[in-house]
Symmetry: C2
Subunit: 409 residues, 2 copies
């Protein structure tokens, strides 16, 4: 009776349903080994401890823990979180502020909403984090990709892009990076690259979004790193984090930390978006930090995910070294696969699903149309150990057949 | 070193820090009887039951309850919530969908973001809900006020406003109303008014936002009402609700229900805003509905808030009937006070605070510049019973002095 589409906002009109989501619907209801998602392994969830803590918090502190709470977060929790970050070598300076959010997705959205207007130029890693790309697109940003190689964001390419934009008289607002155990590429930027990025940010007067879900449980010291936030001397870095991987995603807690001038605007936006984050969840996380539960989760995560990464790397070695190469993550959940021959991992997807294995076609992480067709993101975080080898083996067969039928194997 | 303001988005530039917030800072650290906030009384919080439920849910269902969950909400919870709404006489039809949100504030924000572009005309109650006004303003809407009298939104004035806009060739998108136990006015729209509003929505092809935090614990049957959502035959009503008043605000759970064409856009927006709402909080609320905890909270709330309302009404009768009138809420948290003489409740505020009592100056709820200066919103929800009379007495003295010094008493 009502014709609804005329009511939609400009922002809504910019949206399309994610095509990756559509693709992944193929896997529903099938018994399949999926390397597509990025879920943590529930074996690291401290179920008993969270149950105990929640029970105590609701009974004994319920008058506060079940009540409305301040927009930037429960004051006591922000203090405890700051302490945790500092012990993790993330420097939160005098001029900084923290706002607690409903996951780091909300942190990223709020900060982007505070800073990005339609038409603003945002520099983004390519391949880059899909959910960040979607936030910037929804807000109408013009996305300019910066190359990611095996050492993460390439500062030389960043410099080139900035020179080019400068030549066109275009002033970008910010560069988005996930420098440690990158999603999707599995890369970690060495310190010298980070320094160069900060120098470029200073020279071209940019802000830097440092998205950091994984640095707390790196399990391999082959790349030395420091947080951009810690290296930042000028107050250009806005730092995003989450409890999803170091406690549980179900609590839906994240944060943004950075210069108070910026973060106070984030707080204003949060006031209209959702007023505040779950008070109960904040009290639970606060107590989980205090009791050392978060540290124990981190220790468990390091052991578990290192084992799974090793399993996937050796499966890849054994089955794909003739026709592919891949990254070697020091943490996080993802390995990025590049097929040497001409192959389209998106059009191969239905065949892979039929054979019993799934992944995310890598082109989803590229802003440049048509780029990344020969790539895929594989997650080793959720699957049982025994499935990892079998999944990689199935995938290698599908790819080999794909290469053969395209006459290039 | 960095000059930050140049980085702010257009949206951020539209913001000012809420002047009510600034005003209320005066009350901080003072021993004061505050009728300003709208907090529930923690005595209704089922602390023990929530503790028990959280403990069970984390331990026994932790693999799911502590994991990521779907953007529109945990499927099982949405089913339980739908059942609860239907038992509460809110009709969720075949063509409807529900999305679970982080409080009704987020529901309102997401739906507005899906529908409202800068320059769009939104019709809003005057006096109206401040947080809704702020959402619409932030999104750049043109707000057109519609009069609220003692029976809530006045359909005659709505008709007049719509005729006028039609004459100017302006097509409004939606009308926002909180028809039952209104915040701030404490009014409830009778059924015939609701019918007229729906007829006007149909005639002028508008959507209707029905914000409904309070209908579940009305405690006085002097006004018969039905939900606009239930009366809606054309699929024009988008319905917002919250667990803040029927369980606890600390869980931060709300919902939006309405035509699937609209609500599926809300889901897309939620995907970029915060991905999903706290999984743990959803499992807790689900179990609280199943165990009858929510119904017990509602019964307790009815008794407690009726008593507090009665106390405030008799205190007003006793102290202010010579120079003021006020609304008589059948539910909710608020009484709206109108002073007959010429008085400015905003400039009176510092004196009231000095005397030991606070309120929200009513002009904060008006869109029309300068309107509502002689009004105030009083909340009876949070204060202890014994404070209510004393607070009203103090306020009456301050107002009497104000009237006297303005020579109009």
């Amino acid at each position: 009776m009502v014709e609804y589409s005329k009511f939609f906002s400009e922002l809504t009109r910019r949206f399309r349903a994610s095509d990756v989501r559509e693709l992944l619907k193929m896997t529903e209801g099938r018994r399949i080994i999926s390397f597509a998602g990025g879920l943590p392994d529930p074996r690291v969830f401290p179920k008993t401890e969270i149950g105990e803590i929640a029970n105590m918090v609701a009974r004994e502190l319920g008058e506060k823990a079940l009540q409305y709470s301040p927009t930037p977060g429960v004051g006591e929790f922000r203090g405890v979180l700051k302490g945790f970050l500092e012990r993790s070598r993330v420097r939160i300076g005098e001029g900084d502020e923290i706002v607690v959010t409903s996951g780091s997705q909300e942190a990223l959205f709020l900060a982007s909403m505070a800073l990005v207007s339609p038409g603003d130029v945002v520099l983004i890693e390519e391949p880059g984090y899909l959910a960040a790309i979607n936030v910037f697109k929804a807000l109408g940003a013009r996305l300019v990709p910066v190359r990611v190689d095996d050492e993460g964001l390439d500062p030389e390419h960043l410099a080139e892009v900035l020179r080019m934009l400068d030549g066109e008289g275009v002033k970008p607002k910010l560069v988005y990076t996930n420098p440690t155990s990158n999603n999707p590429s599995g890369t970690t930027m060495p310190i010298d690259r980070r320094r160069e990025v900060l120098e470029l940010a200073s020279r071209y007067d940019l802000l830097v979004f440092e998205d950091d879900p994984y640095s707390f449980f790196t399990f391999d010291d082959s790349v030395r790193f420091e947080h951009l936030k810690t290296m930042d001397k000028e107050g250009r870095v806005v730092y995003f984090g989450t409890f999803s991987k170091i406690l549980t995603p179900g609590l839906r807690l994240g944060w943004v930390a950075g210069p108070s001038e910026i973060v106070s605007r984030v707080e204003l936006v949060k006031q209209i978006v959702d007023l505040h984050t779950s008070t109960l969840d904040q009290y639970i996380a606060m107590e989980a930090i205090r009791r050392g539960v978060v540290e124990r989760v981190i220790e468990k995560a390091k052991i578990l995910y290192r084992k799974k990464r090793d399993l996937m790397l050796s499966a890849l070695d054994e089955t794909m070294s003739d026709f592919a190469n891949w990254t070697r993550p020091i943490g996080g959940f993802f390995i990025f696969l590049r097929i040497s021959g001409g192959i389209d991992m998106r059009s191969l997807f239905p065949k892979a699903v039929e054979r019993g294995v799934a992944y995310v076609p890598g082109d989803a992480f590229y802003v440049t149309p048509g780029a990344g067709r020969n790539t895929a993101r594989l997650s080793y975080s959720f699957n049982r150990e025994e499935e990892i080898f079998e999944g990689v083996r199935l995938l290698s067969e599908v790819i080999k057949e794909g290469l053969a039928s395209s006459g290039k194997a």
